[in-house]
Structures are given as structure tokens and as C-alpha cells.
Symmetry: C2
Subunit: 196 residues, 2 copies
Amino acid sequence: MTNTATLAPERSAPRKRDAEATKRAILDAAKIHFARSGYDGAYLRDIAADAGADAALINRYFGGKDGLFQAALKDSIAPDAISHWSRASFGLDVATMMAGHAHQQVERTHAFEFLLQAATNPATAKLLNVAVQERFLGPIRAWIGGKDAEPRARVLASVFIGLLVERLIRDEALEGAERDIFIKRTATVLQSLVEN
Amino acid sequence: MTNTATLAPERSAPRKRDAEATKRAILDAAKIHFARSGYDGAYLRDIAADAGADAALINRYFGGKDGLFQAALKDSIAPDAISHWSRASFGLDVATMMAGHAHQQVERTHAFEFLLQAATNPATAKLLNVAVQERFLGPIRAWIGGKDAEPRARVLASVFIGLLVERLIRDEALEGAERDIFIKRTATVLQSLVEN
DNA sequence: CGCTTAAGTCATCCCCCGTTGACATCTGTC
DNA sequence: GACAGATGTCAACGGGGGATGACTTAAGCG
């Protein structure tokens, strides 16, 4: 279960000494590796290699694998993922998006795979919980508003996550009548969670 | 990242020598561990301990960790995993279950959690797609019945998966009013996907 | 009873990978 | 251009955990 292939293009000209750029490169490589292989399956040596850096630097800059993971996690969760949708058409908008294919939005998919990996590892699930609370559930909660915002945000987030996973697993975009029904059903569910 | 608590009840009377029973015990323990901790996070020593067996036997009977994982996976995908539920109380039953905590091992969700783990493992991800299609979506589809069974099964599966993930990253069981609202909302969503 | 074979146990090996600290090299500043 | 501090490199260590094989014990059988 080792990853033989490196992902980053060959770095013929090793970058000038620049701690920030190096951190950035490590972080980017880490996100890809964590997304693809999970916490345990991602190896610091591989990440460092892809970043064109030495594994020891990960320790210096991030304080170890755990720190790197946390940093990558934070870097992966956009705090305002939900709130730019219009409430009136939320259900339909999201449903339509989910009917498409995951590969249509590559960067987001990477981020999401990463989060899924984090969720399925008990050790990292706790970290994810904190991050999700702050950066995902919080905004949704604020957006929903009202007394029951908290549990409702939970349900909405769950459904949202489920749809993302389904789209990830599905190997092609939905079409025709199937697509229509899917969108209609999904939109109904989502909208019912936002309204009322 | 070690699992201190054993799950199986104390085996005061070590079972009589019986290869089949031992295999069975190992397999059952493995399914729990893999479901909870994923491939990397599940340790053969722990599994063997829970099965009341020696780790070396895993090698003899399953040819290594990989073989055990495959065997457990195969054993986990029961084609009728969903149909145990009553249609009338499906929404409420599932919602109540999901309000609990992931550490409360729920017999009925083991298989799904296991599949979720398999989904995030590059080596087994391919298996999952087939498994989900044949063994999960299929039964749900048949169970729902009717003309639009296919896309509706999709939506139902999505929501189900989302709830599983949410439960994984939540660090405690929901309580009080929050729990009630969560259950009510979730039950409504699920039931609406089954009925009509 | 012995004998044989399967079932189970134990100690040990060995590889993998995160971590560490000493060392080398670059870069900016006076 | 020399010094200091930051940046990058290297080799080695050590723990964890899967694998292995020799050893022990139980079960079936004549």
C-alpha cells in the first residue's frame, strides 16, 4: 500500500531558500497525500519529496505529522462554503450541482476527499470535529438562524456531506429522467431543512 | 492510537479447539475493528485478542492482514442489509440510531461503517463501488419499489451515508432538546424518501 | 495408551516510518 | 568578506506492528 508515483512535476530548479514558500509547498503536497491515502497512509517522506523538501523540515515547520495534518485541515475548510447561496433557491441549486460529476470541480473534490479521510479515522475525527464546528457548522447555523439552528444545521450538514460522498462514488453524471427525479427529491429535502 | 478497550465479552471458558469457530471469531472481531478504525488503525494483535485467539492464527487462516480484510469485507456485504427495517418506522429508527454516538457499536451499522472505511482506502475503493451498487443501492431500490426507485435510492443512500459520517465526527451522543429536534428532522427526511 | 495431525502459543525478526540532532550551506547585514 | 542566523541536508535511532517458524498442547483413532 505504498505510493510509488509522485504527483508533483519535476522541480528542475530547486527554489531559492524561502521558508514561506517551502511551507506552502509542503502544505499543498500534504493535502493531496492526505486526501488520497489518509492520515496513516500518507508518508512524510513522500510528502516532502513531492514538495521538493526534506522530511526533517516538516518537523521544524509544523512540529510533526500531527501538526501538519492540522494545518492542512485548516487550510482545507473554507469558512464560508455555504453562506453565499440564496436561501430561496438553495435546495435546487445544491441539488443541481450534486447531480453533476465530481470531476467537474477538481480542487473542491480534493479538499473533500481529505475531509472524508479525516472523518473515517478515529484519531483524526476529533480534529475534524473542531474544524467542522468552527468553519462549517458555525456558518450554516448562523445562516439558518432561529432557535433550533444547531440541530438543524447538523442535519443539513449531514445531508450535504452524504451528497458529496455519493457524488464522489458515482462514476458519471446523472442524465434524463433519472437526473430530474434526483434533483427534485434532493431539492425538496434540502429546502425543507432551510425553510420553516 | 491504540484501542485499549476490548469489545468482546470476557471469554472465561476458552472455546474448544475448533478451527471454524476460531475463524468465525476472528472474522467477527475483525469486522468491528476495521469498521471502527479502518485498515491501518486496526491491529492484528487487538483483533486476535478480542477473538480470544493468537495473532499468528490470522496469518495461518487468512494469509495475512490483507486477506483478513478482504474476507471481512466480503462477509460484511450482506445483500439484505437494509430490508430488516420496517418501512413504517424506518425514518424514526434510523434517526434515533444516528443520534447516538459512533462508539456505541450498533450492530446494524457495522457493515456500512466498514464500507465507508473501504471507500477511503485506495486499495479497496474499487470494490466499494461495485458493492454499493449491487448490494446496497439494489436492495434499497427493490425495497422502495416503483418507477422512480433508482434515483430515489440514490438520494436515500446519500442521506444515510451523510448521517454516518456526521456521527463519526461528532464526539458525543446528542441529548435533550437538541437530540429531539435532530431526530424529528432526520426522521422526516428519511421517511419522506421511503414513502410516497 | 501411543501416535499423528491439527490447533494454538510464544518469542523473535525485521521492515517501515516518524522523529531527532548534528552538520552543511545559503543569505542578508555591517 | 566575515559573521550570524536562518534554511536545508543527512544519517541514524527507536517504537510499532505484521510476519514467521519452532514449539506445545489438545483431539481423534487404532
